[in-house]
C-alpha cells in the first residue's frame, strides 16, 4: 500500500506518504490524526476523505468509514472540475470492498468512466469491479470498449473469457445482454452494430442461433477479425480460441488452426499434440487421432491417460472424452469406462493386435525400471478383450502375474527364475484394482495362489520381499477374502441359506489354516515388527518400510470386533496404532484410524487431539475436517467445536472474499484459462454442503450455549435477524446444486461416510462389508457388484445383505433436507418463544392481537416445512407424534431422526399454546394436551435411554451422543418455551425476578407449566445422577476393566494375541543393547498410559455434559417455586 503515493488534487506527496506509512505499520491512531489534519487543509479532497475512511475501517469503525466514504463519493460526483484519478477510486474501492459495498465502488468507477470515456486505467478499474461482482455481461462490454480504444489482444481475450463465463453460468438461458436485446432497443442496436463490425454484415447464421450460439459466434468472430489483422501472440490466447471453437463443435477448424502457424505458440510439442489428438477424436477422426496419441506415448511412454486415449481411438470409443471430467472433477471413478459393442469382430481383432504390437515395442524400448504404463497397458487390452467377449481366460491372469514379476530373460537367466517387476511397489494393488473386477471368483483364488507362489521366488532383497507380502495382503483386502475368513480355526461360522449366492461364494474358497482372521492380524503385526530393522537407518521423517501393515492389522482387528462384539479387539486395534505412532509419530493414516476409534469409544478429546496433530488447515479444512466435525457437532465439547467451526468458516469466507481479486490477477497475467477455472472453483466452494452446514450449525451452537438464559438467547436470535438469515441459507437458490468436497478415500472401511458406521450394526456375523467409495458418481469398484443399473448401483453383499449405494443426487437430496430442517430451527425457536409469551399475555391480559395471528401462521408454515422435510404431511406428522405420546408407536419408528421429531414436538406445542389449533384428544383437565405430550416424550425417551445405557467403558458407540442432543436441543428449547411463559406471566416491572409468581396464575396453563418444570427437572436430575455415577467411578477400577480385555493369560485365541506380539517386541528391544532410534522411541511405549488416556478422555466428555446439564437444571429450578 505504501507504493500508492500520489498527489491527487495537489496534495503534497510527503503528507500522503506519512499517512500510508502509519497505516502500513498499523499505527492507526497516528494515521487518523495525520489524515484529519490533511483534511482540514484539503476539506474537499475526495482522496483525503478516502484515506480517512480507510483508516476508520481499519480501526473497526465501519459505520463512520462508510459515512466518510459516501461523503468522498458525493464530492467526486459534485465537483466537475476535479480530474478523477484512479488512486482515489482504488482507495475508495478498498474501503467499500471491506465494508461489503461493492456496488458503491462500482458506481464510482461507472461515474468516472462516464465522465472520461477513453481512460484505460479507469476502464480497467471498472472491469475489475465487475469481476468482483461476477457481472459477466458488463465485464464483456467493458473489455470490448477497452479493446476498441487500444486494440490490444489481452482486452479482446478478457471479453472472450467474459463471454465464456456467461456460457457457464447462463447455461440454457439467453444471457441478459442478448435476451434484453429484443426488449431494450439500445442494446439490440449495440449488438447489431457489433455483428456488422465483426462480420461486415448481419448474417443469417448470427440471427438464427439461440443466445449461447450467438455469444460464441460473437467470440469467434472477434478473435478471427483480430487474428486477420494482428495474429495472436500468447499461447493462452490460442487455447481460448480453440476452446471457443470446441464449444461449438468446430473440431476440424480448431485442428486446422493448431496445425497451422498459430500452433507454434505452444512450445512444448506434446502439449500441442495432446490437444490435436483430442480434437481429432472428438471429430471422430479416430485413425488420425490414434496416430497423434501414438506419437505422444513414444515421447512419454509412462503416460497412462494418453494410452487410454490411444486405445479409445483404436477402438473408436469416445468414452474417455465424455467421462467424469465433464461432470465431476473431484471424484473420478476408479475404473475406465468404455464402449465396445459397436465394433465388428475383424476390426476389433485388428485394432487389438495393433495395440499389442505397439505396447510390446514400448516395453522393449523402455529404458527405466519405473515405467509401468506399457505393462499395465497389457492388462487394459486384455480387459477390453474380455469385455468384448473375446478374452482368453488365462491371458488377463498372465498379464497380472507379469506385472507382479516377470520371467527372467532366457538369454541371460534361467527361465525358471522370476525377477521382480512391480509387485513390491506400494502402488501395485491400486494400479491393478480396476482389472481385478472382471475376474471370476475362481480366477481370483487362482491368481492369489499364483501370486503367493511367485512372491516367494522372485526376490531375496528383504525390502522387496516385504513389499510383495504387503501387496498380497492388499489384494486379499480388495478381493474381500479377509472378510470371509473364519474368526479363528473353527469352521466358517456363517449360517447361510443353502443354495444362496453367498453360500456359493463361500464354498468356492479354500482357506488355508494360516489365513484365519486372527492369525492374519498376528502375521501382519509380526511382519511389521520383524522388518523394523530395515528402517533403522532411515531419516526419522521418512516413511518406514512396512508401515501399512499396522493399518491393515488394525482393520482386521476391527473386523474381528465387529463380528464377535468382543471389545478387546477394538482396544487391541488402538494399541497397534498407538504402538506404531510411538515408533514414528508422523503416520497420518494411523492417526485417522485412531481418531475414528476414539470417537466411537466416546473418547472424543483424544480423537480431537490426534486430529489436531494432522495440522489440518486452509483447503484441508474443506476436505479433511469431516473426520472430526460430525462427531463434535453432537458432542458436549463446545469450546473445541467453536474453534473448529470458526477456523473453517473463516477460511471459506476469506476465500470467497479474495477469489475475485485472484481472478483479476489471472486476467492481468493473461492466463485466461485460469479465469474460468477460478470462478467455477469459487462457486463450487460456495455451494459446499459442509460449508452451508457449518454456517447453520455455528449459530445453533450459540443458541445451545446460551439456552440457560432466555435473554441471552434472544440476543443471539436478534443478531441472526431473528432466524431469518439462516432461512435464506436453505433457499432453493443456495441449495440448488450442493457440492461434496470431502475426501472420503481416507476414511476407514467401517465408516466410509460421516453418516455411516458399520460398527453400530448389523453384527450378525453374516454381513460382509467392503471398502467402498461413496463419493464416486460413477460405478464403484467392488468385487461383488452383481448388477449394474445405469442410474443406480446395487451392491449385493455376498452374505445376505443387499445395499444400495447412495448416489450424488440422492445424497444431495438428503443433505438439502437436513440443511432445511436445521436452518428452520432458529426461526422456529424465536417464534416459539414469542408464541409462548403471547399465549400467557392472552391468559393474563386477554389481549390477543392480529400480530399474534401472523406469528402462529408463520410458525405453522415452518412446522409444515419441517414435517415435509422429514417426509410427512403436517397432519400425519402430528398424528405420529401424538401416537408416540400415547404409546401407539415406539421410538424406533423414528430411527435416526428422533431428535428432529422431538424438536418438532416442542415447537408444535409452542404453536398450539397460542393458536389452540391442534385438535388433540382431550387431556384429563390438566391443561394443554400438547404440553403434556412434550413432557411425556422427553421423559419417556430420556429415561428409556438412561436405563439401557451401559458405562462407556463397556459399551462403545453408546447412546451418549443421542442423550447429549436430547438435552441440548429439544429439552433446552422446551426449557426456553417454559421460561418465556413464566416471564410473560410476571407482572410488568418485575420481570427480572424469576421466582414466586407462577402461582399467581390460577389457570390450567400455569399448572401445566409447573408440571412441566417438575417433569423436566426430574429428567435432568436423572441424567446428572447417571453422569455423576460414571464420573465418580475410581479410575483404577476402570483401568483394570479395560486392560483385562487384553491381558488374557493362558489363552491362545481371542483378543490379546496381537497385543502380546507388541509387548514381546517392545520387551526384547528394551533388553537389547541396541541404541537405535526405534529402540529409543519404544522406551516411551506404555499400554497402561494409553488405557488411562482413554478413561480420562471419556471422563472429560461426561464432565462437560454434566456441566451443561447442571447449568440448564439450575435455570429450570429457578423457575420453580
Amino acid at each position: 500500500m505504501a507504493s500508492k503515493f500520489g498527489m491527487p488534487g495537489g496534495i503534497p506527496e510527503r503528507r500522503v506518504r506519512s499517512i500510508w506509512d502509519a497505516v502500513d505499520s498499523r499505527q492507526f491512531k497516528a494515521a487518523l490524526k495525520l489524515a484529519t489534519s490533511l483534511l482540514s487543509k484539503y476539506p474537499n479532497s475526495p482522496y483525503a476523505l478516502a484515506l480517512k475512511a480507510l483508516i476508520l475501517e481499519r480501526m473497526g469503525k465501519p459505520d463512520e468509514a462508510l459515512s466518510v466514504c459516501l461523503n468522498a463519493k458525493d464530492k467526486l460526483y459534485a465537483n466537475d472540475a476535479v480530474q478523477i484519478d484512479d488512486l482515489t477510486l482504488s482507495t475508495l474501492q478498498i474501503v467499500f470492498q471491506r465494508l461489503d459495498r461493492l456496488d458503491l465502488a462500482t458506481s464510482c468507477y461507472e461515474f468516472a468512466c462516464g465522465k472520461f470515456p477513453n481512460n484505460l486505467e479507469l476502464m480497467m478499474g471498472l472491469f475489475n469491479c465487475y469481476v468482483r461482482e461476477y457481472s459477466f455481461v458488463k465485464q464483456q462490454q467493458t473489455a470490448i470498449k477497452m479493446y476498441k480504444v487500444v486494440g490490444e489482444e489481452r482486452f479482446l481475450l478478457w471479453a472472450v473469457c467474459s463471454i465464456q463465463l456467461q456460457m457457464v453460468y447462463c447455461h440454457g438461458k439467453p444471457t441478459i445482454a442478448l435476451s434484453n436485446g429484443h426488449k431494450d432497443k439500445t442494446k439490440w442496436e449495440d449488438w447489431m452494430a457489433w455483428i456488422t463490425w465483426i462480420y461486415g454484415s448481419v448474417t443469417e447464421e448470427v440471427l438464427c442461433g439461440d443466445g449461447e450460439d450467438k455469444l460464441l459466434l460473437l467470440a469467434e468472430g472477434l478473435l478471427k477479425k483480430h487474428i486477420t489483422s494482428h495474429s495472436l501472440h500468447e499461447p493462452e490466447a490460442l487455447l481460448v480460441y480453440i476452446s471457443v471453437l470446441e464449444q461449438q463443435a468446430k473440431y476440424g477448424a480448431a485442428s486446422e488452426i493448431l496445425s497451422g502457424k498459430l500452433g507454434s505458440l505452444l512450445i512444448i510439442e506434446v502439449d500441442r499434440l495432446r490437444i490435436q489428438g483430442r480434437l481429432l477424436a472428438r471429430a471422430c477422426d479416430y485413425a488420425a487421432a490414434a496416430e497423434i496419441y501414438q506419437k505422444v506415448i513414444e515421447s512419454c511412454p509412462d503416460d497412462w491417460e494418453c494410452f487410454l486415449h490411444y486405445l479409445g481411438c483404436l477402438l473408436e470409443d469416445d468414452s474417455s472424452w465424455c467421462s467424469w471430467s465433464v461432470n465431476d472433477k473431484i471424484h473420478p471413478p476408479k475404473f475406465v469406462d468404455c464402449k465396445l459393442s459397436h465394433l465388428k469382430d475383424d476390426v476389433f481383432d485388428l485394432q487389438i493386435s495393433n495395440a499389442l504390437a505397439f505396447v510390446q515395442k514400448l516395453q522393449v524400448e523402455s529404458s527405466s525400471d519405473f515405467i509401468r504404463c506399457p505393462y499395465l497397458a497389457n492388462l487394459e487390452i486384455e480387459r477390453r478383450k474380455r469385455l468384448y467377449g473375446k478374452g482368453d481366460d488365462m491371458k488377463l491372469i498372465e498379464a497380472l502375474l507379469d506385472y507382479f514379476c516377470s520371467k527372467g530373460n532366457p538369454a541371460s537367466y534361467n527361465c525358471q527364475l522370476t525377477i521382480v517387476r512391480f509387485g513390491h511397489l506400494a502402488c501395485f494393488a491400486s494400479d491393478v484394482e480396476m482389472f481385478l473386477q472382471v475376474l471370476t471368483i475362481d480366477e481370483k483364488m487362482d491368481l492369489l495362489k499364483k501370486l503367493m507362489k511367485l512372491s516367494g521366488s522372485s526376490s531375496t532383497v528383504p525390502i522387496k520381499v516385504l513389499g510383495q507380502s504387503i501387496t498380497l495382503f492388499k489384494i486379499q483386502e480388495l478381493f474381500g477374502t479377509l472378510f470371509k475368513l473364519p474368526v479363528s480355526g473353527v469352521a466358517i461360522p456363517y449360517s447361510l441359506e443353502p443354495g444362496s449366492e453367498a453360500a456359493d461364494v463361500c464354498t468356492t474358497i479354500v482357506l488355508p489354516r494360516w489365513l484365519k482372521l486372527e492369525s492374519t492380524a498376528i502375521q501382519m503385526t509380526d511382519m511389521y515388527c520383524q522388518n523394523l530393522p530395515l528402517s533403522k537407518d532411515l531419516d526419522p521423517q521418512e516413511n518406514m518400510h512396512g508401515e501399512e501393515l499396522l493399518s491393515m492389522a488394525c482393520n482386521v482387528l476391527i473386523q474381528l470386533f465387529w463380528r464377535t462384539r468382543h471389545l478387546g479387539y477394538l482396544l487391541e486395534a488402538i494399541m497397534v496404532l498407538e504402538f506404531g505412532l510411538t515408533i514414528r509419530r508422523y503416520v497420518w493414516q494411523y492417526k485417522i484410524l485412531l481418531l475414528h476409534l476414539y470417537s466411537y469409544l466416546s473418547a472424543l478429546p483424544l480423537a480431537y487431539e490426534w486430529y489436531k496433530t494432522l495440522e489440518v488447515k486452509n483447503i484441508l479444512f474443506e476436505t479433511v475436517s469431516h473426520h472430526i466435525l460430525p462427531q463434535m457437532l453432537i458432542s458436549p465439547l463446545w469450546v473445541d467445536l467453536i474453534d473448529l467451526l470458526k477456523d473453517y468458516l473463516k477460511f471459506m469466507d476469506d476465500h470467497s472474499r479474495e477469489s475475485a481479486d485472484l481472478t483479476f490477477l489471472a486476467y492481468r497475467h493473461r492466463n485466461y484459462s485460469k479465469v474460468i477455472e477460478f470462478v467455477q472453483f469459487k462457486e463450487r466452494l460456495q455451494h459446499s454442503n459442509q460449508y452451508l452446514m457449518a454456517k447453520i450449525e455455528e449459530p445453533i451452537l450459540q443458541l445451545k450455549q446460551k439456552s440457560d438464559n432466555i435473554e441471552e438467547v434472544e440476543c443471539v436470535l436478534e443478531s441472526l435477524s431473528f432466524g431469518m438469515e439462516l432461512l435464506e441459507l436453505s433457499s432453493e437458490n443456495r441449495c440448488k446444486s450442493l457440492t461434496f468436497n470431502e475426501d472420503l478415500q481416507s476414511r476407514p472401511w467401517w465408516t466410509p461416510a460421516a453418516d455411516i458406521n458399520y460398527l453400530l450394526g448389523p453384527f450378525d456375523g453374516a454381513s460382509f462389508c467392503p471398502r467402498e467409495n461413496l463419493c464416486s458418481t460413477a460405478f464403484v469398484l467392488f468385487p461383488f457388484v452383481t448388477s449394474i443399473v445405469k442410474s443406480e448401483v446395487f451392491i449385493k453383499f455376498p452374505f445376505l445383505i443387499s445395499w444400495k449405494l447412495p448416489q450424488t443426487k440422492e445424497r444431495e437430496a438428503n443433505a438439502r433436507k437436513v440443511i432445511e430442517r436445521r436452518s428452520l430451527l432458529p426461526r422456529m425457536l424465536y417464534l416459539s418463544i414469542q408464541c409462548a409469551s403471547s399465549s400467557m399475555k392472552e391468559n393474563v391480559e386477554t389481549n390477543g392481537s392480529i400480530s399474534n395471528t401472523k406469528l402462529y401462521s408463520e410458525l405453522k408454515c415452518l412446522l409444515e416445512r419441517f414435517a415435509k422435510s422429514l417426509g410427512f404431511p403436517f397432519n400425519d406428522a402430528v398424528k405420529d407424534i401424538v401416537g408416540l405420546s400415547i404409546g401407539d408407536k415406539s421410538f424406533e419408528v423414528f430411527n435416526s431422526d428422533i431428535i428432529d421429531w422431538m424438536n418438532f414436538a416442542v415447537f408444535l406445542n409452542a404453536w398450539n399454546l397460542g393458536s389452540h389449533e391442534l385438535n388433540l384428544p382431550d387431556g384429563d383437565g390438566r391443561g394443554p394436551v400438547s404440553w403434556h405430550m412434550v413432557d411425556y416424550l422427553i421423559e419417556k425417551y430420556t429415561l428409556e435411554n438412561l436405563r439401557s445405557m451401559q458405562p462407556l467403558i463397556r459399551a462403545p458407540g453408546s447412546d451418549l451422543p443421542v442423550l447429549v442432543q436430547l438435552v441440548t436441543e429439544p429439552l433446552a428449547w422446551h426449557g426456553l418455551v417454559i421460561n418465556s411463559c413464566v416471564r410473560s406471566s410476571l407482572p410488568s416491572g418485575k420481570k427480572k425476578k424469576k421466582s414466586g409468581h407462577v402461582d399467581q396464575l390460577n389457570s390450567l396453563l400455569s399448572q401445566a407449566i409447573q408440571g412441566s418444570i417438575q417433569s423436566v427437572c426430574g429428567v435432568m436430575e436423572e441424567v446428572t445422577k447417571w453422569l455423576r455415577e460414571q464420573i465418580n467411578k475410581p479410575e483404577d477400577e476402570n483401568l483394570d476393566t479395560l486392560l483385562s480385555l487384553l491381558m488374557r493369560r493362558g489363552l491362545n485365541e481371542g483378543p490379546g494375541q496381537v497385543f502380546q506380539i507388541l509387548e514381546a517386541f517392545a520387551a526384547s528391544t528394551r533388553d537389547s543393547v541396541l541404541c537405535d532410534r526405534i529402540s529409543q522411541a519404544l522406551l516411551q511405549w506404555s499400554p497402561v498410559g494409553v488405557a488411562r488416556k482413554i478413561i480420562t478422555s471419556q471422563c472429560t466428555v461426561l464432565s462437560e455434559f454434566l456441566r451443561i446439564c447442571e447449568s440448564n437444571l439450575k435455570s429450570l429450578k429457578a423457575l420453580k417455586q
Binding site: 512450445i267 512444448i268 512419454c300 509412462d302 503416460d303 497412462w304 491417460e305 494418453c306 467424469w324 472433477k329 473431484i330 473420478p332 476408479k334 475404473f335 527405466s368 519405473f370 509401468r372 504404463c373 499395465l376 511397489l425 506400494a426 502402488c427 491400486s430 494400479d431 484394482e433 480396476m434 531419516d539 521423517q541 521418512e542 516413511n543 508401515e547 508422523y586 497420518w588 495440522e615 488447515k617 486452509n618 483447503i619 484441508l620 474443506e622 476436505t623 479433511v624 477460511f651 476469506d654 479474495e658 477469489s659 485472484l662 490477477l665 489471472a666 497475467h669 492466463n671 485460469k674 477455472e677 477460478f678 467455477q680 472453483f681 463450487r684 468436497n741 475426501d743 478415500q745 481416507s746
Partner: protein
C-alpha cells in the same frame, strides 16, 4: 505410470493424501491461486491410473538479468508413489520449462537444512548448495539455497557457491 498435466483448482480438493504428510505444507488459498494465475506452466500434478494424485510441483520464474531463474516452491510425492523417481521427473519438467520456454539461467530452491533426504535427492539431480540462509524457516531453522545451472548459463556462474551465509533480509526474492 504418470500422467503429468497442469495443476488446476479442483486438484486442491483432491491432494489431501499428499498434503497430510507432515513435511508437505498446505499454503493458504491466495498462495496457490497466485501461482496458478501467474505461473500456470510451473504448477503440475502427476496422476496415476484411477486418477489418483501421485504428487505435484509448484514453482515460478523471476529475477532480472543473469539472475532470471526458475524457482521450485514445493515438490511433493504421496507415500504410495515414493521411491519411483517421480520427484525427479517433476523437477526435470520444471527445469525444462525454465530452460526452453522462459530461457532462465538457473533453477533454485530452498530446503530445510535438516531435511537430509531431500538435500541428497537434489544433489543427485545436479543441484549444489549455493548458500546457507540463516533462520530462514520461521526464524528458527536455517535454509539451504540450492541451484542448478541451465543451458543459458554456459559458464555455470550461477553455481559458484557463496562462501558466507546470508540472512533472509539479504535475499533478492522471497
Amino acid at each position: 505410470m504418470t500422467t503429468i498435466r497442469r495443476f488446476c483448482c479442483n486438484d486442491l480438493l483432491r491432494f489431501s493424501s499428499v498434503n497430510l504428510d507432515h513435511l508437505t505444507e498446505t499454503f493458504n488459498m491466495s498462495f496457490y491461486m497466485t501461482y496458478l494465475a501467474r505461473w500456470p506452466d510451473y504448477f503440475h500434478v502427476a496422476e496415476a491410473p484411477g486418477n489418483r494424485i501421485m504428487g505435484y510441483i509448484m514453482g515460478k520464474v523471476e529475477g532480472q538479468g543473469e539472475s532470471w531463474h526458475g524457482h521450485v516452491t514445493a515438490v511433493t510425492v504421496a507415500p504410495e508413489y515414493r521411491r519411483q523417481q517421480l520427484a525427479k521427473k517433476l523437477m526435470h519438467m520444471l527445469e525444462d520449462i525454465s530452460d526452453k520456454i522462459d530461457k532462465a539461467y538457473f533453477v533454485d530452491l530452498f530446503v530445510r537444512a535438516s531435511n537430509t533426504p531431500a538435500i541428497k535427492m537434489y544433489e543427485k539431480l545436479g543441484y549444489i548448495i549455493y548458500r546457507r540462509v540463516l533462520r530462514y524457516y520461521s526464524g528458527e531453522e536455517d535454509g539451504l539455497d540450492m541451484r542448478k545451472a541451465l543451458s543459458r548459463d554456459v559458464e555455470k556462474k550461477s553455481m559458484i557457491p557463496l562462501k558466507r551465509p546470508v540472512t533472509p533480509d539479504e535475499l533478492e526474492y522471497d
